[in-house]
């Protein structure tokens, strides 16, 4: 039940909360921009009248700047000092977020406007948590908040030792729904769900450590995702043992000295028999239909109608329907079962060939007619096969056992039990397959590029250094290293490539123009990426995300020595996004720098570029 209410201006909202003595508050808003706006508006509209608190904030921040110069002159500086309010979200750099957390913790702020993502991890409580809606913003619209998200948020309400009571307030908003919030407050917390998956890094490391696919498989089977598998396996194994025991017991009681495999053999043969029976045509119409399916094809002339007088050249056949041309050139479309006769020659579908075809059929139709099979001929194959199976069933029991009659009866009686046994065996195999398959696919791809020896189940020398490369898409970077791509590049190109690789796929880091040489290095890298992706696709692996060229532009500028403020200004990207992207780029470069034994040149380069990228304020 939505309760759509006009959203209050942030200053009005804070005023209302203040009237009830509900400050300080954390106000959750759906987007970063709204947080920034709300904080600025509130600061403009409500100047904190308490001068000593303003001074305290100023003093606090001045001290903080001494250790964290990167927050000096931040565009929200005045908002905080004057209004005692701040915005806090992933668009800010870590140092800025830290100073706000500290100010809040010191009791110097009245309100923080934050996105829901902030609720995870950092701990800065307030007396009141304000929700402006019951929905969360996604990349393409809205979705309802989950119980866990709401719990993360309300977890901030009430400061231990500083509040007797904490409050959660549903404030006016277009996506407000008090009923839903009431429900969510009472909902049990979400369950932990495993996200276990196969990765190249895990596969290479485990295979190198344990030396066999079986061990890797065993570890995968122990994951939380497959915790039920262990139980299911145990259960299935138990039921398999039980049936095995039942079968052996019955054979023993009847004094039949035959192995269990005979009983299973009968089950399998009976299975084959049933399938053959099913495939065997039972009526003349069925035989004729199957025969038509086989012989009617484009390029053949058929006779339509019971007598098969009207001739049609077939051009197309789909889902039991046939299209073609009549002798007068008009087109025809009809169900395949209306065909009465089929002629053997196959003509090319060109005008003169078609005409020649009709002429030939008119002249020598009789001798060119294909003979339809009779029922007895049609099922000859199946009948033969059935006879062989029946023979095998007959001779299943060894010829010289005593009391053969009795044993035969027992074996037949046991056949449903044997069916259970086979079903359980198949189920176990299927479970094992499900766990292992994602690893197997990756193993095959790695084998193609020479990082592991599939037959020997061994990591190659190449694979060993790839295992050490803890990076997104290690195979792509490994191939780029092997092809010597990194040896021929300038530092800024290396920075661009690694940034394009590690950045979030669809995040915008501005539209800085790329020099031709950077573009050409990126496209060479993409070529390598395509080779890898194509092989991955061949093996049923999802295509990798695209390179982020916009990230490359920002990183090239940064690695070329531009000032932080300059990069922020030129890209118009959010500081927090740039910070995270550069930080991850630097980490990836350090990974490559670690390969100094196998790729000294690239490692040296990566190390130098990492130094350029990981300079203040990135650290």
């Amino acid at each position: 039940m939505k309760l759509r209410m006009p959203e209050m201006p942030s200053a009005t909202l804070l005023g209302a909360l203040d009237g009830y003595n509900l400050l300080p508050a954390i106000v959750f808003l759906p987007t970063r921009r709204r947080c920034d706006q709300a904080a600025s508006e509130a600061a403009l509209a409500r100047r904190d009248p308490n001068e000593s608190r303003r001074d305290a904030r100023r003093e606090f921040m001045r001290e903080f700047v001494e250790q964290n110069p990167e927050v000096r002159g931040h565009r929200h500086w005045d908002t905080i000092i004057r209004g005692g309010v701040a915005s806090h979200h992933a668009g800010h750099i870590p140092a800025w977020k830290l100073v706000i957390e500290k100010l809040m913790s010191a009791g110097l702020l009245d309100a923080i406007f934050a996105t829901a993502t902030v609720a995870a991890g950092v701990d800065f409580p307030a007396r009141t948590v304000v929700l402006t809606g019951a929905d969360a913003r996604t990349g393409n619209g809205w979705r309802p908040l989950t119980a866990s998200e709401l719990q993360q948020m309300t977890g901030r309400a009430g400061r231990r030792g500083r509040d007797n009571v904490g409050f959660v307030v549903a404030a006016p908003g277009l996506h407000q729904d008090p009923q839903r919030i009431a429900q969510l407050l009472k909902a049990p917390p979400d369950s932990l769900v495993s996200q276990f998956r196969a990765t190249y890094t895990t596969l290479l490391n485990l295979l190198d450590a344990y030396g066999s696919f079986a061990s890797v498989r065993e570890i995968a089977e122990r994951s939380f995702a497959y915790r039920d598998f262990a139980h299911q396996f145990a259960q299935l194994e138990r039921s398999r043992e039980e049936t095995e025991h039942k079968i052996n017991q019955a054979l023993k009681e009847a004094a039949c000295e035959i192995p269990m495999s005979v009983v299973l053999g009968l089950e399998r043969l009976l299975g084959i028999r049933a399938r053959l029976q099913e495939a065997k045509p039972q009526t003349r119409a069925e035989v004729f239909h199957r025969w038509l399916n086989e012989v009617v094809k484009p390029g053949r002339v058929v006779g339509v109608g019971r007598a098969g007088r009207r001739l049609v050249m077939v051009t197309e056949k789909r889902d039991g329907n046939v299209r073609g041309f009549r002798e007068d050139g008009s087109s025809a479309s009809f169900a395949q079962e209306r065909i009465g006769r089929v002629y053997s020659p196959v003509y090319r579908l060109r005008e003169d060939d078609i005409e020649r075809g009709f002429e030939e059929i008119r002249k020598r139709g009789k001798e060119l007619t294909l003979v339809e099979p009779r029922l007895r001929d049609a099922d000859a194959e199946e009948t033969d096969a059935l006879m062989i199976v029946d023979d095998a069933i007959e001779n299943l029991l060894p010829p010289n056992i005593p009391d053969k009659q009795r044993c035969t009866e027992i074996v037949w009686e046991l056949h449903t039990t044997a069916e259970d046994y086979e079903r359980v065996t198949r189920r176990i195999a299927a479970l094992r397959e499900e766990v292992w398959l994602p690893f197997e696919k990756r193993a095959k791809v790695l084998a193609i590029f020479g990082y592991l020896d599939y037959e020997a189940e061994k990591v190659t020398d190449r694979g060993r250094w790839l295992a050490d490369l803890h990076i997104d898409r290690p195979l792509l970077v490994g191939e780029a290293l092997e092809s010597g791509l990194f040896n021929s590049l300038e530092p800024k190109q290396v920075a661009g490539i690694m940034a394009a690789l590690t950045a979030d796929e669809d995040r915008d880091y501005g539209e800085l123009e790329l020099d031709d040489d950077v573009v050409s290095s990126l496209s060479r890298f993409e070529d390598t990426g395509f080779k890898v992706s194509a092989e991955e696709w061949n093996h049923g692996l999802d295509p990798a995300p695209e390179l982020n060229f916009s990230a490359a532009g920002a990183a090239v500028r940064w690695a070329s020595g531009a000032e932080w403020s300059q990069v922020v200004r030129e890209t118009r990207a959010e500081e927090g996004d740039l910070f995270r992207m550069f930080s991850r780029t630097g980490e990836a470069l350090l990974q490559i720098a670690g390969l100094h034994r196998t790729h000294p040149q690239a490692a040296q380069m990566a190390s130098a570029v990492a130094e350029m990228v990981l300079r203040e304020p990135i650290r």
Binding site: K2, L3, R4, M5, P6, L13, A16, G19, Y20, N21, L22, L23, R53, E59, P94, L98, S105, G107, G121, V130, Q151, G155, A157, G158, R160, G161, R162, D163, N164, V165, G166, F167, V168, V169, P172, P178, Q179, L185, P189, S191, L192, S194, Q195, F196, T199, T202, N205, D208, I219, R222, S223, F224, A225, R227, A230, A467, R584, E587, A610, R619
Partner: protein, 286 residues
């Protein structure tokens, strides 16, 4: 067992040099005073709202006393792995810190993993303040300091990578305790698998302490831990009550404040009426 009061303070208080403490306290007092001053200018309130807001304000200062679940968790750690599930801010870190203190004092070693670099950095600072810089090291993707220290703080990925290295014949992970902070990251779509690998590959001789947000299937999770590690795992739920009780309210555009729930814990009927009105109005507009 004795518990030291000064441990209850949070990271950001600690980052300040000790000499400035006095000043810091006075700033806090200013904020404090302000809050009390504000509480005197309150709008006229209905009885219902008065009840909703009853008791609002700051409690008198009490000496720090560990919660029952914290003591329980510490005791359990002597014998088994422990999974603590409690909301943020309820004092999970205190458990880890006291256990680490105990180990360090007896010359043993610990690894503390966290999912985010920012958290790792702030924990590093916190532990330096607590145990002294020479006893703490940090390992993240771009930071490596004092890596032979008896207490290592780092990201979960780096810890997992160390496990890989030791399995492949590198040096052993030398820790007697591994703390996995924010263990519910196991359910993170991109990175969750790293937590599982870390848990599966941590040798059973190393004690595991998992700190997690509240989750619905804690016992199922612990059962898996026991199975996969062959070590008993205790589950310690957080405090049964929130450390600070929570009340829910709805603020209306006319600045009226209504309790979200009635005494029976059901949706306040007044809000239901408002919502029905709201729906009617929307229908009429159409």
């Amino acid at each position: 067992m004795t518990f030291v009061r000064r441990n209850s303070r949070k990271t950001w208080d600690k980052r300040k040099p000790r000499g400035r403490r006095g000043q810091e306290q006075s700033t806090r007092k200013a904020g404090h005073h302000e809050a009390n001053e504000r509480s005197t200018r309150v709008v006229p309130q209905s009885r219902e709202v008065k009840r909703l807001l009853e008791g609002i304000g700051t409690p008198p200062r009490k000496p720090f006393q560990p919660d029952e679940f914290q003591v329980e968790a510490l005791a359990a750690l002597e014998f088994e792995d422990v999974l603590v599930t409690a909301p943020t801010g309820s004092g999970k870190t205190w458990i880890a810190r006291e256990e680490i203190r105990r180990l360090l004092e007896s010359g043993r070693r610990a690894w503390y993993t966290s999912p985010l670099k920012a958290l790792t950095n702030s924990k590093y600072q916190e532990f330096i303040d607590e145990f002294g810089a020479e006893r703490v090291g940090i390992l993240t993707g771009d930071r490596k300091e004092n890596s032979d220290a008896p207490l290592i703080v780092g990201t979960t990925e780096i810890y997992r990578n160390q496990l890989f290295d030791s399995l492949r014949g590198g040096s052993e992970v030398s820790a007697d305790l591994v703390v996995l902070d924010e263990a519910h990251y196991l359910a993170d779509e991109d990175r969750g698998h790293v937590w599982e690998e870390a848990i599966i590959l941590t040798p059973p001789r190393i004690r595991l302490l998992l700190l997690s947000a509240t989750i619905g299937n804690a016992h199922e999770f612990a059962a898996w831990l026991e199975e996969v590690r062959g070590v008993r795992c205790g589950v310690i739920g957080g405090p049964t009550k929130r450390p600070v009780p929570l009340r829910a309210a709805v603020l209306l555009p006319d600045k009226r404040l209504l309790p979200l729930l009635n005494d029976a814990g059901k949706l306040n009927p007044e809000i239901e009426i408002l919502a029905a009105d709201n729906a009617d109005r929307r229908r009429l507009r159409k």
